[in-house]
């Protein structure tokens, strides 16, 4: 129950008032939207819901989303490991600058993230037609979507690992090296186990964002139904065609993913808070 009244707490009435306002606000702003996704998805009953998910375009969208995440997340994972190793285990000039740079994609609107790839590989660019003549399509195809997704999910793993590895320092690695291990052995047997929960956490967030990305992918994908629509894009298309139930049905899958991510994230935070990044910035 709320703390009893003391010199350093408010009167119980004030406390309950605060709690009521805060929870009320959260209920309306956060819980209600979440609930409405599932409510709308099942508005026409289970048969309509399942039919929407079984639709072949929906299935294609699901497959594409998973494929994109399956490519983008490992790329950013490797990057995150490399960057945090370089930053945490060494002292070099320009380190702080590099850390700030890595955060860059966070401050860029997703539409701009898509835009820059259109400029790079689009019709009016140098690379676009050159690659096309070699038979490689970037835009309006899988590579473009993957690139745009990599852009927006770029910092997730690194941001989680860098403060964590900085906190852990170089002591363990130096000990391993002094015992005769080489670089790779040290990394696999000493470093990786130390950072595994932070790594999982970062991958979790990266994956959630990768599967849910909308703006950047909308720009580069061309929205070719059945071929280059990811789940979020398919949701938009169905919605704009006034097929609300189907849109919400697909959206509910994504919402489920979000819930699972939240649960796992919270579980990791509770059990392994010591092994996660010192800062809780997002």
């Amino acid at each position: 129950m709320a703390a009893r009244s003391s010199p350093t707490s408010e009167s119980p009435m004030v406390q309950w008032l605060f709690i009521a306002i805060a929870l009320g606000f959260m209920a309306i702003i956060l819980v209600l939207p979440l609930y409405s996704v599932f409510h709308e998805a099942l508005a026409r009953g289970w048969p309509a819901f399942l039919a929407a998910l079984a639709d072949k375009d929906a299935q294609a969208a699901i497959r594409l989303t998973m494929l994109v995440a399956a490519i983008a997340v490992p790329f950013n994972l490797v990057f995150g490991l490399a960057a945090s190793w370089a930053i945490a285990k060494f002292e070099f000039k320009g380190k702080a600058f590099l850390i700030t740079l890595i955060d860059l994609p966070f401050s860029v609107s997703p539409v701009i993230a898509g835009l820059v790839y259109v400029l790079l590989f689009g019709a009016g660019s140098f690379l676009g037609p050159a690659l096309k003549s070699m038979g490689i399509e970037i835009l309006f195809a899988l590579p473009g979507i993957v690139l745009a997704t990599i852009f927006v999910t770029f910092p997730f793993v690194a941001r989680e690992l860098i403060p964590l590895m900085q906190d852990q320092g170089t002591g363990d690695e130096e000990a391993a090296l002094s015992l005769g291990a080489d670089g790779w052995q040290t990394f696999w047997r000493v470093t990786l186990p130390n950072i595994r929960w932070g790594l999982l956490y970062g991958v979790l967030l990266c994956n959630a964002r990768a599967m849910g990305e909308f703006g950047a992918v909308a720009v580069v994908s061309g929205k070719i139904r059945g071929q280059t629509t990811t789940m979020p894009l398919q949701v938009e298309m169905l919605y704009n065609e006034y097929n609300a139930t189907a849109a919400f049905a697909l959206a509910s899958l994504l919402a489920l993913l979000a819930l699972v991510t939240l649960v796992l994230k919270t579980a990791l935070e509770w059990r392994f808070s010591a092994d996660l990044a010192a800062s809780t910035r997002h």
Partner: protein, 289 residues
């Protein structure tokens, strides 16, 4: 890759400190390469393209009335939403940190929902609720208020996505506030209201500023959660990212580029502001946001 630490040459400029740990060249090289290819190169293309417009062309594109209108819509709504989030975010952080009540942990976890939920899903869900026939839209319709398809809807969506930024920035600072400081204030004669308003809240200022800036920056750049609920009427409820999107579909790359550059410049200014706030507060108060 040499395994031996560099020879000690006092006074010589060194890029990095010698270390026995291997892999520097490999990891830094890969990091810089990856970053350059994925981030730098594309951004460079953007910069080149906007430079290619020439100063006059750029200016014309950037100050086009519709662009101005879109930027204004984005900014004003983001500002209002960040303001609302600061007020309620502080209250929520306070309640989560200071009080114990059933379900507290659940609510604490839910704060992160906007981070995890795909923007398009948030967009259609919010629209469903605030449309005239939706749960809340129907409640306020008799008052003559419309939320969805108006700037008010944009504000609501931005409140949704910005809330975690404010709460998660304030929470750790609040958790750190020492009990003794509040007791000291009480022993000096301050009543509870004075203690909160003169001692506790001001110490949160850096965190509040940072949270505000983060929520604002995110709101300005947001796309997916907004375009469904917005109405998208030029000058009224059309946000800047949407205008970029439209220009792209018209193959007006120049126009899109110009708007994007303006938005980027503002984002970087926000980033700079946040860093300055944190540096100032660390110097002045001894702690960051």
């Amino acid at each position: 890759m040499s395994r031996h630490p560099a020879v000690n040459r006092p006074g010589a400029w060194r890029f990095r400190q010698p270390s026995v740990i291997p892999g520097f060249g490999l990891t830094l090289g890969f990091t810089v390469l990856y970053f350059s290819l994925i981030i730098l190169l594309p951004l460079l293309a953007l910069a080149i393209r906007s430079a290619g417009l020439g100063p006059a062309g750029f200016w014309a594109a950037a100050t086009d009335p519709r662009v101005f209108g879109a930027l204004r819509v984005s900014f004003v709504t983001a500002l209002i939403a960040a303001g609302v989030n600061v007020v309620f975010g502080m209250l929520i952080a306070w309640v989560l940190v200071r009080y114990r009540f059933p379900g507290r942990r659940l609510f604490d976890a839910i704060i992160d929902l906007p981070f995890a939920l795909p923007t398009a899903v948030a967009g259609i869900a919010l629209t469903a609720i605030y449309a005239p026939n939706g749960a809340i839209g129907a409640l306020v319709a008799p008052l003559g208020w419309r939320i969805a398809y108006t700037p008010a809807g944009i504000v609501v969506a931005m409140i949704f996505i910005g809330l975690p930024f404010v709460v998660r920035t304030i929470q750790p600072i609040l958790e750190e506030v020492s009990h003794e400081v509040e007791e000291a204030s009480a022993t000096l004669g301050a009543n509870r209201f004075q203690t909160i308003s003169r001692v506790l809240l001001p110490s949160l200022t850096p965190a509040v500023l940072t949270g505000f800036a983060l929520a604002f920056a995110r709101g300005v750049g947001e796309f997916g959660s907004i375009i469904f609920i917005a109405g998208n009427i030029p000058f009224v409820s059309e946000i800047a990212p949407l205008l970029i999107f439209i220009r792209l579909q018209e193959f007006n790359y120049g126009g899109a580029t110009a708007i994007a550059m303006v938005m980027l410049l503002i984002s970087f200014a926000m980033l700079l502001f946040i860093n300055l706030v944190q540096a100032w507060s660390r110097r002045r108060y001894g702690y960051g946001s």
